[in-house]
């Protein structure tokens, strides 16, 4: 088992850096495309929320760890922002008619929908989101 890790800090380039990091790790481990795509989405949605809401658009440390073992990808994202459990957010109404659809609020919903398992933990310094998805190789 190998854990790949990257540290992000700048909201302006973190999405691009994370995408490059995950592509390299997941393609290198021959993870199927649809799982690669799901992990990229979950990772992006998580860090965008951290920088936007946790760090209010400023720089701040975000550590991303990606482990692939026995056909299961685990993505752990840790920050030092104020405590906030994103899984406490109510789900959006994805069946609403256009006039009632709210713009936004889909990020956490996508994470929950795409992952097999999502967990939130408070750490000494901030927040930790653990996202997992299995695949058959």
């Amino acid at each position: 088992m190998t854990t790949h890790q990257i540290e992000l800090s700048d909201p302006k380039n973190s999405v691009k850096i994370l995408s490059g990091f995950l592509s390299e790790v997941l393609e290198g481990e021959l993870v199927p495309f649809e799982v690669d795509n799901a992990m990229q989405l979950a990772g992006e949605e998580a860090i965008v929320n951290i920088f936007k809401h946790g760090y209010k658009g400023s720089e701040g440390p975000v550590i991303v760890k990606c482990t692939i073992e026995h056909g299961r990808v685990t993505l752990i994202i840790q920050d030092e922002a104020p405590f906030f459990n994103p899984l406490s957010l109510p789900p959006p109404d994805v069946d609403a008619a256009l006039e009632d659809r709210k713009i936004g609020g889909l990020g956490v919903y996508l994470i929950r929908s795409l992952m097999d398992d999502v967990r939130y933990e408070q750490t000494e310094k901030g927040n930790c989101l653990i996202m997992e998805k299995a695949y058959s190789s």
Partner: protein
């Protein structure tokens, strides 16, 4: 066939626009994520602000879209719909198609297999 004009290009996102049968078609290639969605917002916004109400988004070469991209196209749809227009999506690839289905966007936008199929939607 009218050759499109590149209106935006970087390493992750390329947008080309053209007009076919009087309808604006935006060919969107690459990734629409939180880093690139502002460019799509700008280009789509220019079309809507200039009075276009019927738009086709050709997503044949769109490999990835996140909630940042969904936000942009939903906002544009709300604007054109209020003027009686619509936005049709063409050739969704598996990754983006799953995202559209999961979020119910497949019920808000007509999704067509071909540009010709989408153009027919706009014929009166």
């Amino acid at each position: 066939m009218i050759t499109g004009e590149h209106i935006f290009m970087d390493s992750n996102l390329e947008i080309t626009d053209r007009i076919q049968a009087g309808i604006i078609i935006l060919d969107i290639s690459g990734r629409v994520d939180a880093a690139t969605s502002s460019k799509m917002e700008e280009e789509l916004g220019k079309k809507v602000d200039s009075g276009a109400i019927n738009i086709i988004l050709n997503l044949k070469d769109l490999s990835y879209i996140s909630s940042s991209g969904l936000r942009v196209i939903l906002a544009s749809l709300k604007k054109v719909k209020s003027s009686g227009g619509k936005i049709a999506l063409v050739s969704l690839q598996p990754g983006p198609a799953e995202v559209f289905k999961m979020t119910g966007f497949d019920r808000l936008f007509p999704i067509c297999d071909t540009i010709d199929g989408a153009l027919e939607l706009f014929q009166v």
